[in-house]
Amino acid sequence: MSFRPLSPPESPTANNSNNHNQSMSRSSESDLSVDTDIIIGHLDPNFGSETRIENPKTPSSHQRNASSYSRNYSLLDFYGLESPSGDRESEPLIDASIMKGLDDLEFKELSHANTIFAKSVVPSPETEASVRENYIQPTVSENIEKILNSPYDRYGFRKSSTLHNITHDHYNEWFSDYSQYALRRKKKWHILMKNNGLHLEQEDSIPTRFPPKSDKVKKLIRQGIPAEWRGSAWFFYAGGHERLNKHIGVYSQIVRDTRDIHNKDTEVIERDLHRTFPDNIYFNSQITSPVNSSSTTLATDTSAAPPETPMIKSLRRVLTAFAHYQPQIGYCQSLNFLAGLLLLFMEEERAFWMLVILTERIIPKVHSANLEGVHTDQGVLMLCIKEYIPQLWAILGKNFEGEALSEDKILTRLPPVTLVTSSWFMSLFVGILPIETTLRVWDILWYESSKTIFRFSLTICKMCLENPDFQASRNNNKGGAEMDQIELFQFLQNFPKTILDPNLLVDNCFKKIGGYGFGSLSQDEINKCREFVSKQRAKLDHKKNNNIAAEMTDEERRTLISSSDGTFADDQSIHDVYGFHRSIMSGVIWNKSISNKMKRSFVKRKTSR
């Protein structure tokens, strides 16, 4: 396989004639070292086989078309084909070409962003005093002590943050136990790395390469990645390196192209920047200062806006660049939280590509302009709840009038509960689950892909159902059978915030004995369900158009009818999708249980006709 990342699309030295001479010389040097690393990485004959993991890019019907920037994104995007760009810790994280045309101030910010993650680089004296080497401190005993004595957690969130949903004291109580667990896990990780020949120079170095996927690795991932390794591990297992290597300099280019851009997206981005993790010290410089929120004005009152942290500036660049790169998505509220959390764990170019991977491959169309992916995934989730938690479906599977939704109505008119659960998919549990629990889900998500979201959504739903408070609340309700839907929504909305112990959630999800065993819900099942739901929804749209466009010509009508079989969700079309009659999905055995049920119910309906 020939892959030549050696010449970036834009040579950083080509056109920058006059600006930033001193700055540039420094960045050119570091740029050189990137290339060197890449050469080493790609010529290493062992590497490809070592990192070949599994067939990663399942072509999906949701896959959006490539935008102008991602044209060279190809089917070769396999885990094994490209290597991570070497394992030097000092790898500069922003391409030097980004420096072209930036003024000195911005250059400082960017070079500062580099130094945050490049541990061997000493922060230059001109950078702000508050600058830290790395946002996430290593998991070692002395740091745990420090955290216990601080008002902030190890990620910079206020311990009494809404993301923890508990008081400072409760946090410490929990953390003193959990940190011991984290220390033990880290030892296991060290052993795993060693056994895979991935030697770490120092106890606290952060690896850039990880072992290939295996049951052993999966098990450890599910038990949690050491916090300070997370960014690196997520990026590695999500296929970030190959994406980045194929698009060297692209992010810098977009940042340059978009730096003065003003449009609808940037307008909303600006409004959301300061509403992203306002109780995290890296996002909000104000919370550490004694003059606290009481003296500040509303976040949107720009006249008295608090000074921006480097993190907010990074967030602005990433979101703006993303909106430009993925015009079908643009900016969608909730991306701010996704990008924000990524930025705590990795530098901005990587966070950008992770956002691209996420929205292209893991939750396609969920953030698109019409949120179609949200509807699709909610339809899939409802099918899953119906299948795996029928007791809960008995409560949820109703419309607002209290009428039970029949099988074929689910996808066309989603149950109201999806108003709660859709945010789980949009923000990937950020702000839904306590932060550590969210991060544990993310560990698994980047390794195991989108089935993870469904598995954990089901787990949360089932935990909710089994919760004594929920049961009591139902029993207290007159009649018992019907819980006021809004009460249920509130419960479903508030309950996840109380799952402070990540291990409880993870064990419930995966354990077959003593848990729910949702690990058996396969990616294939999810993919097929997604395809099914989106096809059905497309047919609904056809039908809608059919109703509305009464003025249509006969020709148009014939086309429409032939494309949608004339009716929505008729038996034939469902058989099509499930492959019972025309075996569209021949050779694929999936979701036996759901498909059998669907089959039975449709056979029944057919015979009763």
Binding site: R271, D272, F277, C332, F337, S422, G431, K478, D484, N547
Partner: protein
């Protein structure tokens, strides 16, 4: 700072003997303070830095109307403000008895967005829905972009077209005017019908979901894609 605490737990108040429940949605451009208004009303708290709402948030709060000795329970649906979330909006305002269209008095564009929402509600929402046009951030009067006279003009125009809209300014930050808005909405709701219809907390049956006694007329609304700005 006026603290609308008097409305907390009014169910303990002995003077009420009637109960009605209504669904209320908040709509409006992002960052105008929808969530802040709700939190002021429900929890009597205010955060300068509130995180953007993703999807929807559900809260409930009850208030008492002493004149009619009625306790009103609001089911409040707080929604995300960004334009694209509009594709979810019909799910929110379907069956709603009242809608708060919120704008920021320091932002002209948010005012026209609130008017767009009113237009959309007129077209799509259940007939008889009580609509309130609420200008938030009245504490920032110095940077005001939307004059009260303009709002009056708009309301005047609307009433000539046959729609009555409640209008008011408030400050979620100071608490000024927040409770008043919910009270005047409560007074405009068809409480008599709701109470008369024997609505109570148990809403197992299909019909009584129409707490306000408002006839939804589901057939009235054409099944139309609700995308696009109105």
């Amino acid at each position: 700072m006026s603290a609308p605490t008097s409305n907390q737990n009014p169910q303990s108040s002995q003077s009420t003997n009637r109960f009605a429940q209504f669904k209320l949605v908040l709509l409006g451009e992002s960052a105008v303070g929808k969530s802040s208004i709700v939190h002021r009303f429900v929890k009597n708290t205010f955060d300068d830095m509130r995180e953007s709402t993703i999807g929807a948030a559900f809260l409930t709060q009850t208030i008492t109307l002493p004149e009619s000795k009625t306790t009103i329970k609001f089911e409040i649906w707080d929604t995300a403000g960004q334009e694209r979330y509009k594709s979810l909006a019909p799910m929110y305002y379907r069956n709603a008895n009242a809608a708060l269209c919120v704008y920021d008095i320091t932002s002209r564009s948010s005012f026209s967005k609130a008017q767009d929402w009113i237009k959309e509600l007129k077209k799509q929402a259940p007939e008889g829905i009580v609509i309130a046009l609420v200008g938030n951030k009245s504490d920032l009067a110095d940077s005001r972009e939307v004059e009260e006279s303009e709002v009056e003009e708009y309301i005047q125009q609307a009433s000539e077209d046959g729609s009555s809209i409640i209008t008011s300014e408030c400050s979620a930050k100071s608490g000024d005017g927040v409770l008043e808005i919910f009270t005047s909405i409560a007074k405009s709701l068809p409480v008599e019908e709701a109470v008369g219809a024997g609505t109570n907390r148990n809403r197992a049956g299909a019909g009584n979901r129409r707490a306000g006694g408002v006839d939804l007329g589901r057939a009235r609304r054409p099944e139309q894609a609700s995308s696009g700005c109105c």
